[in-house]
């Protein structure tokens, strides 16, 4: 549920970037020097930061983090999906003869 709301929020924010309602309007001049179109996008940028905070708080990919950092602490062998490769992938790809000739 939380994730669905966040996805909706991202899509809504993307749509709100296209603020056609202020397209031809310069006034009101906010704080005496900021045209309304620019002020809108300043607020928009701050709202994005708030959304990013919500994403980090509610949808952080812990599984990846745990895997990466577990891996760093000590490998458990090639079969474990989170285990660090004994070699760089370059070497692994070269093991594949078909790949070599692609």
């Amino acid at each position: 549920m939380k994730r669905s709301l966040l996805v909706i929020a991202i899509i809504a924010l993307y749509a709100l970037h296209q603020d056609f309602w202020f397209w031809r309007a310069a006034a009101p001049i906010v704080f005496g020097f900021l045209p309304i179109g620019l002020f809108y996008h300043v607020c928009y940028t701050i709202v994005i930061s708030a959304l990013m905070w919500a994403l980090v708080k509610n949808a952080w990919p812990w599984r990846l983090e745990d895997g990466g950092e577990d891996g760093e602490k000590g490998g458990q062998g090639e079969e474990h999906p989170f285990a660090p490769s004994p070699h760089r992938p370059v070497a692994q790809s070269l093991d594949n003869e078909e790949a070599r000739h692609t």
Partner: protein
């Protein structure tokens, strides 16, 4: 000349940080140490250096120049769209790339592609495409350095010397410091230009007698009131620009930077604070660019405004050469420097000039990224490391840094195009079109190496096609229309396809090619897929 001396002092500090500071004894993995700072960057350095590496001369000089000509639209066009797309891609893609890199030891994006799709030479093709599109980005750095030093020294340091000095400084600390030196220099530079924005705004604002008057004057004049709205651009053009920041995460230096974080949690603050950093840099730059239209007491700015006025009133009657000359005269890439030169006290102009240099010297990580790609994706992949050892690989990377800098400098001298056009039309659009590669590699099991090859070749071909089209068709006109609908047109700013910037069809076709070609070709082995997708 005094501001230029401040800049030279700044350059000396940068060399010190990059070359001598934070040096560590090289461990058992010299390549990982040189190219990735041993995957050990802390949270603070990671945030500031990643942000700094994504900000170039384009962010400060290009944006204020663009705002000078086009008005406030520059901010939503480039800054607020990036403020959404870039942190979101770091959150979704950057974290995954970091995790895969940590697990499997990647140093470059192509190593990930080679492993994920079990391919060899296709990876080489992708490397070549990525490298070809990164070079213009590096040239921007050299051009920005030349332009900045020329303006800061009041024309005493010619463009070719300024460009050479900046290129040389960057080359020295990348050569010696590798990723660790580059990251620390970027951290220092980002701190400087974050401070620079606010200070420049206050100093120039006071000098101009407050921005309220300037904005009201702009609003009152029919020739300038449109600068405070977005009526100069069409909604389709505006929408197209939201595709440009897709390029960010696809730039090899950004992906490589994602691999340098010590912990994945270092991404958290970066993702949250990235939009605020964008605001801090772009708002002052854009606002000052717009306000410069009222700085008629500055002779050089008045000359630009007069050239623009002539272009508008007599443009149709002029020859293409005359129009080109006027466009060059009215270009605003140096507008911020002109304002500082006039309004800031000498010593402050020097300090602020150093802040601008910090922004224009962001080509360091691109140079390092290309060197990394060459030594990992080409030299090591084709057996160089096995034959000559890892230390020879690092030496090769360093020699590559020198060669690349020299080439970029030579090109920068030959093609004096405005910073902004060069960046957007060639590098940014092309990298946006490469987005399906990363997304498919990380999120779509059924994607194949052939789909990746098709996408990469399309990205390269479409960039070339746009460049050739714009070279052949110089005058704005509709080239192809069907039933009154404009399909392909040459515009003053570039090219439009159905009213959109070329980046839109480039990304859509690239994604379609990835899907269709992948579905038509043999899927990767279960083993390879299993390494990337947990059940």
């Amino acid at each position: 000349m005094i501001p230029a001396l401040f800049v030279f002092a700044y350059l000396a500090i940068v060399i010190y940080i990059g070359v001598f500071a934070f040096r560590r004894k090289v461990g058992e993995r010299p390549a990982e140490d040189y190219f990735l700072a041993n995957r050990a960057l802390g949270q603070f350095v990671f945030l500031l250096s990643l942000f700094g590496t994504n900000m170039t001369a384009f962010a400060i000089l290009g944006s204020s120049g663009h705002a000078f000509s086009n008005g406030i639209v520059t901010y939503p066009l480039m800054a607020s769209s990036s403020a959404l797309v870039v942190p979101l891609s770091l959150f979704l893609i950057g974290t995954r790339v970091w995790a895969m890199g940590k697990r499997y030891g990647f140093i470059t994006p192509v190593q990930l592609f080679r492993d994920r799709w079990e391919c060899g030479h296709i990876g080489t093709v992708i490397t070549v495409v990525q490298a070809a599109m990164l070079v213009p980005y590096i040239i921007i750095g050299v051009m920005g350095g030349g332009t900045a030093l020329y303006a800061i020294s009041g024309g005493r340091i010619p463009f070719w010397i300024g460009g050479a000095v900046v290129a040389m400084v960057v080359m020295v600390y990348v050569f010696f410091g590798g990723m660790r030196g580059t990251a620390w220099v970027n951290t220092f530079q980002t701190t400087l230009f974050l401070l620079f924005g606010g200070t420049a705004l206050v100093v120039i604002g006071v000098g101009m007698g407050g921005f309220g008057n300037a904005v009201n004057d702009l609003l009152a004049s029919p020739s300038t009131s449109s600068l405070l709205t977005r009526e100069k651009v069409s909604p389709l053009f505006f929408f197209s620009y939201t595709f440009i920041p897709l390029s960010s995460i696809n730039f090899p230096h950004m992906i490589i930077f994602c691999l340098t974080a010590e912990r994945m949690r270092h991404f958290k603050k970066t993702v949250i604070l990235y939009p605020i950093c964008m605001l801090a840099i772009w708002l002052p730059a854009v606002f000052l660019g717009v306000a410069a239209n009222r700085a008629t007491e500055v002779p050089s700015i008045r000359a630009k405004l007069e050239a623009r006025q002539t272009l508008v009133s007599q443009g149709a009657a002029l020859s293409p050469e005359e129009r080109g000359e006027l466009r060059e005269k009215s270009a605003g890439d140096d507008i911020l420097l002109r304002l500082l030169d006039h309004y800031a006290p000498l010593w402050l102009a020097g300090l602020l000039g150093a802040g601008i240099m910090a922004a224009v010297m962001a080509s360091d990580s691109q140079i390092l990224a290309l060197s990394t790609m060459f030594s990992e994706d080409i030299f090591a992949f084709y057996g160089g490391k096995e034959r000559f050892g890892e230390r020879a690989q690092v030496v090769t990377g360093r020699v590559f840094v020198i060669a690349l800098t020299v080439i970029a400098y030579a090109i920068a001298l030959k093609f004096p195009q405005p910073i902004f056009d060069l960046a957007v039309q060639y590098a940014f659009s092309g990298y946006s079109a490469m987005m399906p590669l990363l997304v498919a590699a990380l999120f779509w099991k059924r994607s194949t190496k052939w789909g990746a090859l098709a996408s990469a070749l399309w990205a390269a071909a479409s960039v070339i096609a746009v460049a050739v089209f714009q070279f052949l068709v110089k005058t704005p006109k509709v080239v192809w229309s069907i039933g009154g609908v404009e399909v392909l047109a040459r515009t003053p700013a570039g090219t439009s396809v159905f009213g959109f910037l070329p980046v839109v069809p480039m990304v859509i076709v690239s994604a379609l090619l990835m899907i269709v070609v992948s579905l038509m070709t043999k899927r990767p082995s279960e083993k390879a897929v299993g390494r990337y997708f947990l059940r």
